[in-house]
Symmetry: C2
Subunit: 333 residues, 2 copies
Amino acid sequence: MKLCLIPGDGIGREVVPVAAAALQRLLPAVQLQQADAGWECFVRTGQALPDATLARARECGAVLFGAVSSPARKVEGYRSPIVALRRELNAYANLRPTCTLPIAGARQDVDMLIVRENTEDLYIGEEQRDGDTAIAIKRITAAASRRVARAACETLLARGMHRLVIVHKANIMPLTDGLFRDCCREVAQSYPQIEVSELLVDTAAYQLARAPQQFQALVAPNLYGDILSDLAAAHGGGLGLAASLNQGDAGVAIAEPVHGSAPDIAGQGVANPVAALLSVALLLRHTWQRPDEAQRLEHAVRDTLAAGIATPDVAGAAGVSTAAFAQALLARL
Amino acid sequence: MKLCLIPGDGIGREVVPVAAAALQRLLPAVQLQQADAGWECFVRTGQALPDATLARARECGAVLFGAVSSPARKVEGYRSPIVALRRELNAYANLRPTCTLPIAGARQDVDMLIVRENTEDLYIGEEQRDGDTAIAIKRITAAASRRVARAACETLLARGMHRLVIVHKANIMPLTDGLFRDCCREVAQSYPQIEVSELLVDTAAYQLARAPQQFQALVAPNLYGDILSDLAAAHGGGLGLAASLNQGDAGVAIAEPVHGSAPDIAGQGVANPVAALLSVALLLRHTWQRPDEAQRLEHAVRDTLAAGIATPDVAGAAGVSTAAFAQALLARL
Ligand SMILES: CC(C)[C@H](C(=O)O)[C@@H](O)C(=O)O
Ligand SMILES: CC(C)[C@H](C(=O)O)[C@@H](O)C(=O)O
């Protein structure tokens, strides 16, 4: 088994080594390879996602991606490496679970999954400026909608659940979001065990904020999935804990904490490695089919948190360093 | 003063009369005119927003819009009447405040405003389907971005506040969302009292869910404003309480509860009229420049809720009917 590590910028460089160490403890035979990407990489090499990185990612088939910083303004030649990587590896479904963890103040009984389409919608980068008007193209295809719906249904059943909510805004965009909705319905209907319903994206945001406990899984176009998964993460105890897996066919996958590079806390040694650790657990379970190792890792994370050991984003003034958390976690593996 | 009442469908018909009665108590000289719109109107007449309604709305200059139902599938000739009305009246800024109200379980110390652009973005209705691919156009113009930014700045200052957050996703859409962001910055910088910052829409959703208390005002393109204002409403005690005002130049305005037509509870006499009442308060304050009447109405709503009188969406099993709430409220005016 091979894993390509792309720490990226900021706290990506602090959390990826912790997750890599945990993985090595669980699967000593795993081969880890380092690769470069991100804003600092762009400044240094002129490429945010160097060809060598892409080649290494392809060769490994699995990636752990930390986080990257993006420039505040449009910079010629720069495109988000995570968006490019998702597309290049055809990792078309982004699994973003939120589960109640044993920390103070977390909402109880949340165990839900957002499945985000990863390859199209407004993320295709087709924009134009003409004088004082700019337009962007939102593209939805039946094929991409169907395959993400299938991934959502399969993952839902694999998690022992059966309720799927399709998220869209088809009252305003009957052709694009309507197509997404119809394709998802069609696919979901081929799974007799799955109970399917739908929500407008604004209503979904409202319901997620009010009562996330009601959801098992939601499937959404790219941008809504981006927004709703951050929102859900807030109810799971924060972005420091939010894991994700970008999944394609043929065992290609990118494990990716939902958080960004967090320049405000980077370099202080207090980044929360839980999101990266749980992302690796998703990779173990869904891509590598190693449910036992996935569970051991998840339990170790829970046990560490339940012992009151957590970084400052979760534990405030009682928070420990990334290194101390890592040590406590590794001792539990 | 004239107000065009458009109750629409479902609970729109239950809450608009309550708000109209309260307004009449406050301003006995106000002239109320009824007009038709919505799904049932479309089924009956073939027009979701009849020309006569539009003419009446224009003539009155001010509208109280209840809610309308939309069809689940694309129906030839049907377009959302509220979207059309916003555009036709050029009510380009949608003010959506969220304030802590005296009800059980509400987040404390929330007093914030989302200003949503109302005329463009993905709401322009430009969509095409070609085989298995559909596209929609997201349009952002400098003029619309600037005028909504100006409305946001003016309203912010009128509320005695000074912090404005621009919401965008310019890391993915540097041309469209970048234009929105740049125009908002430019306008905000011409107000020396205003402190301006920016957030990506996913981060804004996250921060709104975690700590809405940190915000004074956010300005956002149409779709993000739609999603974030529903999310904010969840923290203000629910959609039954969430008011909005669609505002343009020259005193044209549409007061509009954020909630929909709620077919699940329509006709049961339990709809919450607070959102409609507080929408009328916004109209009194911002359009008609009647701050005293606005305050009397807001106080009456607060006093009624503080007395434990509320509909079931807020008070659960202890909830009273719309009529009982209305009576208690009118007694306090
Ligand atoms: C960094 C950014 C391009 C990315 C996205 O929008 O997909 C991030 O927000 C995420 O959710 O992974
Ligand atoms: C009914 C719908 C068209 C509308 C919108 O999306 O603007 C509603 O969600 C709102 O927020 O007022």
